[in-house]
């Protein structure tokens, strides 16, 4: 008699088990176990994240994962935020939408970052996906309120419409009226980026009033202070609210109305907006401040005393975004009041001014690092720094995971010793063993990169500007940082040697950006030739790179790994180093 052994569970059981596995990394691991697991897994993968839209083609994604419900795509490199990537570079979402329209009729969620989205794309989304629920356009551009009107009109079960920091051609405020009266499903609406002064306020009010599940609402500047109370009263269940204009002549009845409206929002934990704040209206918030965990005052042009008053009412604050008007004194207050603080971002009020306009120095950051034991994430713009301060910060806060420091004047040395800041940043990477993201600034030699290569083992993203002496610096990073995924460099004397010596490393990373460095056209061609799994793209707005000698440095270079091969939607000022394509171009 033969006994048959069951070697594996039935497919349905495995599928059920896999449905509990949500993270991409784990899913990828599951699919590597064996062919049958790979097969089962790919049919039940519902969420796909594509960190670089050119790393893979829509068809490849669809072929492997036929039943996707949620997709997240990123387009342009990060430095596009600072005008370093010329308009027309790429990152178009239309080809993706066009393919998915046919392949994923049940697609529910699209999340895009730094992509070019046209009204045509939006209209295609509106008519292709019957069960569409979530549209997040983060730092996108290329579309107008006409496209939004199509989404509003057609998506019967829309839950999220989030346009955060996108550039929208604001043709008319009436697009909001395109949400049908039957639409009651909204959970999140973020229109804070819309810049026109008109918004169909009555349509907005009615929409807010009929969506009982609305949790997050971020208004734009067009909504004036007196209207805020009306909105809040219709949505007392809000958890996250972005005000519009927060300025008006102080009128007692408007104030008390506003204060009353805020106090009726018992779930409110997060606030943002605050364009043109009038300090006199800030106390209207006091009733909800004790519950606030997140406060974005980065548009609020109010001075330190008013900021201190507000912050001192928020003991539960975990996240604060603020302008440098907060000054060292404000940050000291923050350090003593907000012991739950996890994330701090301080932005410059006058980034292009030659002289400091506020009293914000390294002292403020040191104070917060000392007083806030849970601090993990820092973005700090200031005008002076010292190695001593950085070492103190590193020793106080070894739990930092993100540290982005921008000393406004390039190559600024330690203001006390006039030495480079190598030792200070070295302390950061040495002590903060879980550091995943780092941005450098100030005067830095190759030494800092030696520290980073030695200690930055968990570092995933590194931003470098005006730093280093030679290729050795870049070599330290590429050879030492095992977890590196994204590297962006500008105005550093890094050339061919380090890049070519570490070519294989580039295939383990998502992307490398280098602009105003010393990489030659010849090296780019060689890299493109030898590394077929890399797309090596040269950006030059002045003239074709091969009209100059090969030893000439290229202006901008963007290298990313890809299984899709070179792209064909490049504008005239982008050259691919893929030999076959280059010859045809």
């Amino acid at each position: 008699m033969q006994k048959k052994m069951a070697y594996s569970f039935p497919d349905e059981v495995l599928e059920q088990v896999f449905s509990f596995i949500q993270s991409d990394k784990d899913r990828n691991a599951v699919s590597l176990v064996c062919k049958s697991w790979d097969e089962i897994e790919r049919w039940c993968r519902r969420k796909v994240f594509i960190g670089n839209c050119y790393a893979v083609s829509p068809r490849m994604v669809i072929r492997r994962f036929p039943e996707v419900r949620s997709i997240k795509l990123k387009g342009k490199p990060h430095f596009a935020d600072f005008n370093l990537v010329p308009d027309g570079w790429g990152g178009y979402v239309l080809p993706w939408i066009a393919e998915m329209a046919g392949a994923y009729p049940w697609l529910e969620e699209i999340r895009l970052k730094r992509m070019v989205v046209t009204d045509e794309s939006l209209e295609l989304i509106a008519k292709s996906f019957k069960n569409f629920k979530v549209l997040v356009l983060f730092s996108c551009e290329g579309f107008s309120t006409d496209g939004l009107a199509a989404i509003a009109a057609s998506c019967k079960n829309l839950r999220e419409l989030d346009l955060r920091e996108s550039e929208v051609d604001d043709l008319s405020g009436h697009w909001l009226a395109h949400f049908p009266e039957t639409c009651t499903s909204l959970v999140s609406l973020n229109i804070s980026c819309l810049r026109s002064d008109e918004v169909s306020f009555s349509a907005l009010e009615r929409l807010v009033g009929r969506c009982p599940n609305l949790r997050s609402l971020r208004l734009n500047r067009a909504v004036t202070l007196d209207k805020i109370a009306n909105i809040l009263r219709r949505a007392p269940q809000l958890v996250d609210f972005g005000t519009g204009y927060y300025a008006a002549e102080l009128q007692p009845d408007v104030f008390s109305n506003l204060a009353g409206a805020f106090s009726s929002c018992k779930e409110l934990k997060s606030l943002s907006g605050f364009w043109d704040v009038v300090p006199a209206y800030l106390p209207a918030l006091y009733s909800i401040c004790p519950r606030l965990t997140s406060l974005n005052l980065s548009y609020a042009t109010i001075q330190s005393p008013d900021l201190i008053k507000l912050v001192s009412h928020c003991p539960r604050l975990q996240r604060l975004l603020v302008l440098d008007y907060v000054e060292d004194s404000g940050l000291e207050e923050l350090a003593s009041s907000c012991k739950d603080l996890q994330e701090l971002r301080v932005f410059p009020s006058d980034p292009f001014g030659a002289e400091p306009n506020v009293s914000l120095t390294e002292q403020g950051l040191v104070a917060v690092s000392l007083g806030c034991p849970k601090l993990r994430s820092v973005l700090y713009f200031c005008r002076r720094m010292s190695n001593a301060a950085l070492v103190t910060i590193a020793q106080n806060r070894p739990n930092l995971t993100r540290f982005r420091l921008c000393i406004i004047e390039p190559k600024t040395p330690d203001y006390l010793t006039l030495e480079p800041l190598d030792v200070g940043f070295g302390a950061i990477v040495e002590h903060c063993k879980d550091l995943r993201r780092l941005s450098l600034s100030g005067l830095l030699t190759d030494h800092v990169f030696e520290y980073i290569g030695t200690y930055g083992k968990k570092l995933e993203m590194l931003s470098v500007a005006f730093a280093g002496d030679s290729d050795l610096g870049l070599h330290h990073v590429l050879s030492g940082c095992e977890s590196l995924r994204k590297l962006e460099i500008r105005d550093c004397p890094f050339g061919d040697k380090a890049l070519l010596a570490n070519a294989a490393k580039l295939e383990t990373m998502r992307s490398l950006w280098m602009s105003s460095c010393a990489v030659s056209f010849g090296a780019c061609k060689l890299l493109g030739q030898k590394m077929p799994k890399l797309n090596v793209e040269v950006i030059d707005e002045t003239e074709p790179p091969d009209s100059r000698p090969e030893s000439c440095p290229v202006d901008k270079l963007y290298i990313y790994r890809s299984v899709a091969g070179p792209r064909f939607d490049m504008p005239p000022f982008v050259w691919t180093m893929d030999e076959a394509v280059r010859i045809l171009h």
């Binding site: 935020d81 600072f82 005008n83 370093l84 010329p86 308009d87 027309g88 043109d276 980065s298 042009t301 302008l323 932005f347 410059p348 009020s349 006058d350 980034p351 292009f352 001014g353 030659a354 713009f381 921008c406 004047e409 190559k411 006039l418 030495e419 480079p420 030699t445 190759d446 030494h447 931003s463 500007a465 002496d469 030679s470 290729d471 050795l472 070599h475 050879s479 500008r490 004397p493 890094f494 050339g495 061919d496 040697k497 380090a498 070519l500 010596a501 570490n502 010393a518 030659s520 060689l526 890299l527 030898k530 590394m531 707005e541 002045t542 090969e550 030893s551 504008p571 005239p572 000022f573």
Partner: protein, 208 residues
């Protein structure tokens, strides 16, 4: 500094790029490693320090320190603006009441850029910034008739479209008035600009 080093090294290669000789191999997967210790990383590191004449010793540090002391001694009077620095998000201008983004087109260039007129205080600053952005072009500084450094010998006249839809020469009106009325900028080839009925004499001095 290092770019010169890089250039020198490339030039000493006999004919094309002969990187194999300098041990900076690209090490395709599957190819046998050259070094005996089996670590390509180590091998390339060794090759790297052998071929690159770097001295990160005290000598260079002193030089650097001296240099930075000199830099610190100078107090910057005017700030020359570097593109994309400091890294603040373009349109999300914080701390400012408003921002005035206008598109800039350059005759002959297939792309547009955008500038925020609010961040400049004078025509001089604007033109300097445009020069940086479109560094290949000579922009005719109409204010004081001086040509800014020529690169390829083609002159461009900065013009703008005002609220009424007319094309005007940049520099004709007081700066603030210009900021308010400018809808977009166009760097027109000088030869073309002559044909337009533009005002010839700016009423405006170069001090602002």
């Amino acid at each position: 500094m290092s770019s010169e080093n890089g250039k020198r090294l490339l030039e000493t290669d006999a004919g094309g790029l002969n990187f194999e000789a300098t041990e900076l191999t690209l090490g395709l997967p599957g190819e046998p490693r050259v070094t005996s210790d089996g670590g390509a990383k180590l091998g390339s590191k060794r090759g790297f320090s052998e071929t690159v004449d770097l001295k990160l010793g005290d000598n260079n540090q002193e030089v650097k320190l001296g240099h930075s002391l000199q830099e610190a001694a100078k107090s910057p009077v005017s700030k020359t603006q570097v593109v994309g620095w400091p890294p603040v998000r373009g349109f999300a201008r914080r701390g400012k009441k408003s921002c005035k983004y206008v598109k800039v087109a350059v005759d002959g260039a297939p792309y547009l850029r955008k500038v925020d007129l609010e961040i400049y205080n004078s025509y001089q600053q604007l033109l300097t910034s445009l020069e940086d952005m479109f560094s290949c072009f000579t922009i005719r500084n109409y204010l004081n008739e001086k040509k800014i450094d020529q690169v390829n010998g083609i002159e461009y006249m900065p013009t703008y479209e005002d609220k009424d839809g007319d094309w005007m020469l940049v520099g004709d009106v007081p700066w603030q008035m210009f900021v308010e009325s400018c809808k977009r900028l166009r760097l027109m080839k000088s030869s073309e600009a002559v044909g337009l009925g533009l005002k010839t004499a700016p009423k405006y001095s170069s001090t602002n």
